[in-house]
């Protein structure tokens, strides 16, 4: 657990804690929204390019395709499990439970990026196709959640002004899908040589920008927690802590079966365990506006995200090592 400590003491995580601490102490500081949104586009371009360049070096193996498929299946399946747990252990309405479940089936790119750095620090090298897996896991969870929410309910008329295709567009063409998939394909086409000129920007700066971004994420998570926690019961709060662990253990099993190397397994486990706080909330506002954002946002951003970034990732790397030794 020495690497666990060194992960916790890396500047990235320390800046996250700084932000979270400042927010909990009610500091008024903030990173301007336009600036941090710009940085997030940078981060997604960087990991997309990197993933694409790495994928361009190797042929598409069956293992790659299996990982992609596993990601999609997990994103479809996890919300169903989360929904059942929420309905049994909390008093959330059907709609709130379904909307929350969608967040846990989908993923958090920042958690993924933080895990990538931690995995590298631990001496493993994850494959580029995990970035593609991340992109593919964003959406399926939303479909499961909508089925769960509408199941056994009489059909409701459309909301005035809603447009055919607006949800599909939001879900399949949101910033993170466009940039991640686009940069991945560009990295794949341009390859190592073609992207050499842009490497100082996208690779050299990556970890520094991440520090700045995680400072802001800490502020966000801390404020989310401080503002939302009164509206949460203990049972919803703890869901935000055990649900990622359940997803992680299930996915570790999948990794053992597929015989994935540690780096890839750690990232797939992290993706499964992470919860969305940008793409899915936006989709839920369009598709299930009756669900209360204060519930699902506080849980995914204020509880699960800080848990994953600090305590979760070392655990997921540990699980990945177990899975690899089982299958190896």
């Amino acid at each position: 657990m020495d690497t666990a400590l060194s992960t916790l003491l890396s500047p990235i995580i320390l800046f996250f804690m700084l932000g979270m601490g400042a927010a909990l102490l009610r500091s008024q500081m903030s990173v301007p929204e336009a600036f941090s949104k710009g940085l997030s586009i940078y981060l997604m371009m960087a990991i997309g390019l990197k993933g694409g360049v790495e994928m361009s070096k190797n042929p598409l193996t069956t293992e790659v395709i299996l990982v992609l498929a596993a990601g999609i299946v997990l994103s479809f399946a996890i919300p169903a499990l989360a929904f059942v747990l929420l309905k049994f252990t909390t008093r959330l309405s059907r709609t709130d439970a379904a909307a929350t479940a969608a967040h846990y089936g989908s993923i958090s790119i920042v958690t993924f990026v933080a895990a990538t750095e931690a995995v590298r620090l631990s001496g493993f090298e994850p494959g580029g196709h995990l970035v593609a897996t991340a992109a593919l896991m964003e959406t399926p969870a939303i479909i499961t959640a909508l089925i769960l929410a509408h199941q056994g309910q009489k059909a409701r008329g459309d909301i005035a002004g809603s447009e055919r295709g607006e949800l599909v567009r939001e879900v399949l063409l949101n910033a993170s899908v466009v940039v991640l998939v686009g940069a991945l394909i560009i990295g794949w086409i341009a390859g190592e040589d073609g992207t050499a000129n842009v490497q100082p920007f996208f690779t050299g700066l990556f970890q520094g920008v991440l520090c700045l971004f995680l400072l802001d994420m800490g502020l966000n998570a801390g404020r989310g927690l401080r503002q939302g926690w009164r509206q949460m019961t203990v049972s919803t709060f703890v869901f935000g802590l055990y649900m990622p662990l359940i997803s992680a253990v299930i996915t570790a099993g999948v990794c053992a079966v597929l015989g994935l190397p540690v780096g890839d397994a750690a990232l797939l486990i992290t993706l499964a365990a992470s919860a969305s706080y940008i793409a899915v909330p936006a989709a839920m506002r369009l598709a299930l506006p009756e669900a209360k954002p204060s519930v699902y946002l506080t849980l995914s951003l204020g509880v699960t995200f800080p848990f994953n970034v600090t305590v979760g990732i070392p655990i997921y790397i540990f699980l990945a090592q177990q899975a690899a030794s089982l299958s190896g």
């Binding site: 929204e33 502020l219 404020r223 503002q227 936006a282 506002r285 954002p293 946002l297």
Partner: protein
């Protein structure tokens, strides 16, 4: 300067839903609207603030639209429907404009 009485809709609505409201205004025949960003607010016992709110979920925008009585009434019916599901507040007031044929 001759002025003419019109109605002004001011709709405070969550960001993710504002395009729905705008379509409703267009369908009701309103000739124009303008959307303003907001930076913070309070409602239902909760405070929110844009710079510390990473998702668009609790972000509100303000839609202003000036038009004829009839069109405003038609728009309000539809807006009531939207506000049945989405977070928001609508208010209407009297204003005087200069070129009535444009509304």
């Amino acid at each position: 300067m001759e002025l003419h009485r019109k109605r002004r809709i001011e709709l405070i609505i969550e960001r993710m839903a504002y395009k729905r409201a705008c379509r409703v205004l267009e369908q009701a025949g309103m000739t124009g609207y303008t959307v303003l960003p907001s930076m913070a607010g309070f409602g239902g016992g909760n405070r929110w603030s844009r710079d510390t709110d990473i998702s668009a979920a609790s972000d509100m925008v303000v839609v202003i639209s000036i038009g004829d009585d009839d069109k405003v009434d038609a728009a309000l019916d539809q807006i009531a429907n939207i506000l049945g599901s989405h977070i928001g507040v609508v208010s209407v007031s009297n204003v005087d404009v200069m070129r009535p044929e444009r509304f």
